[in-house]
Amino acid sequence: MAHHLEGSRNSCALHGALQLFEAIDGVVPVIHSTSGCGVQHYLGVTRMSGGNDPFGSPPVSSSNIGQKHVVFGGGSRLREQLKNTVKVVQADLYAIVTGCSTEMVGDDIAAMAREGRDQNWPVIYTNTPGFSGDVHHGYHLAVKALIEQLPDIWKERDKVPSGLVNIWGIIPNQDPFWRGNLQELGRLLEGIGLVPNLLLGSEQSVASWQQIPGAVLNLVLSHWGELPARLLADRYATPSITLDSLPIGTAISTLLRRLTELLKLDTIRTEAFISREESRLNFQFARLADIYFHAGFQREFVLVGESAQVVAIGEFLGKSLGLLPRTLIITDNPPDSVHQSLITRLASIVPGYDTEVIFSEDRTDITEFIRASAAQLVLGSSLEREVSEESGVPFFALSFPLADRIVLERSYAGYRGATTLLEDIGTAILAFNRDCHLC
């Protein structure tokens, strides 16, 4: 039976597309919708992701349509807005995204983008009404628009470095640590002789997206990255590797070895690199041993987040650190087809231990599951702080929405992300223990 949804952390498709376009240098999105859509994206998404707002405020171009545009069609308003935007901001690419009202009316966005291109403006478009799906669907729509329309704008291809690997499935802001995670992944790929095409974040521009067709591989790091990999396989026959998540800690070594084998890289170089990284990580683990037992790190935990985060963090804490995954709550509504494989994978993190895997984006449900778990550590979004405090257990915020942390380059991925995560969770446990002693 249907029931109301409280405190959903999945915004709408328009916002998902905006997240992607805003994460590429030189892309200027143009919203064709009513005036609230852009503001809501700022208030409800970018500002809720650890201070990840790209500009510090929401200066996004928007057609801000009114009633007369709904009645008579808003095409001319968009034409005017696009023209004004081109006058005010020099961009490598203008990306038109649409909201619910203009899609209900049926404005011909494709024609407006075509008109723009006829003026030699680099314009792409994607129809992103909020009713078509959530933020993840918006990521799909924006990626699809770039893959399908960029080749029509720039017909000549630049020379692509050999060993280029495209990265898919990390959704800006929906993963608050996306910048740092991509950087760490880039470092690791370079470490084994590959050239990462991160596509998003600092120094990632439209030029990075133009290089996509020349990549040797598409590396997919969540289910949300499967669609772009499939599109590129169809268009350019590029092979891909698909993972449920970007691994943390020594689990990343498996990926590096797999890449080395598949792309016939220098095995000696890869093994030397892995050995160096694992040694450093093991050294840090060893240093932690005393406090680990002293402060009681090993405890049952609840983890709430997107499927890729839950897999990566859940497995790292369970397999590498000996914590016990009591309840794992997945909030990004992955397709039904992957539910069972996720359950099978997550339920067996600690053999013989009973882990509950739940799919929910409803805050009330999630709160109840946390209460019922009686876990001794809660890892989730800022929405879970209240129930953690009420339950009297340490809490650490690491998933979206992240209202009370600043995240600039912090990473919870790869080898370095493992130590950062340990530092952060350990600090939260120590702080909680100290507060308990004081009170």
């Binding site: 009645v71 008579f72 069609g73």
Partner: protein, 291 residues
Amino acid sequence: MSEKIGKHIAIYGKGGIGKSTTASNISAALTDSGYRVIQIGCDPKSDSTTILRGGNDLPTVLDTLREQSKLRIEDISAIGFGGVLCIEAGGPVPGVGCAGRGINAAVELLQELNVFDEFKPDFVLYDVLGDVVCGGFAVPIRDGLADRAFVVTSSDFMAIFAANNLFKAVNKYAPSGGARLGGVIANSILAAYAPELIDDFAEKTGTNVIGYVPRSLVVAQSELYGKTVIEAAPQSEQAQVYRNLAKYIDENEDSVIPKPLNSPELKKWAREWGDRIFEVETGVVHEMASI
């Protein structure tokens, strides 16, 4: 909303079935009886009131709204035959924008302009386009704007289909304060079986036929002169038919919540009538049958 002034009537029916002609003649007949009447065309084609105003141009509410922010009633209305206040909601050109929202916006604006308070009509007729394809076109029968809806239909299946769709909309909105169905107006009656077919549909859906308008050259001729039959041929039989309809609407407050047929029922009903008409046309005579 302030207290409603006058009786508000909505006329629906399939496109091209004769809604505007019927509505305009009813308006003309009502005004001929001394009533103050407003007719509001809710159709982007903006031709509902043409024959009330001799074919003269009338700026539509929405076109005027697009050009100027402050409107006066005089900007968007014209006085037609017998003093009928003619208004056309207007709407977008085909294939662009949202006509449904347009009707909503135009009706809101008329309320803001206090048209009804100022004109003090005895009757307001909303002539609504074609089928009830989306929520916007149901505006006149929602929220108690119109008290009663009448549907104009011929004996063609697609016209009956559109009438059945209107019944669905009335059925949905009437229980929460929307308009109820005043009745069915049988239009363009030519074939001998037509009245019986429409009667049968009305009976099956729990409604009633309030008048039969024969197909007539007088209507076509009057329209070519840009006039209603009431104005162009006041002594004609056809004019009397429209006067009778107006009289019914004036004197009879009966209304029902119709029971629309579902899709299989409607198909079955149509097939049965198909067989029946075929038998009549080919001369099949059943025992004890008389048509």
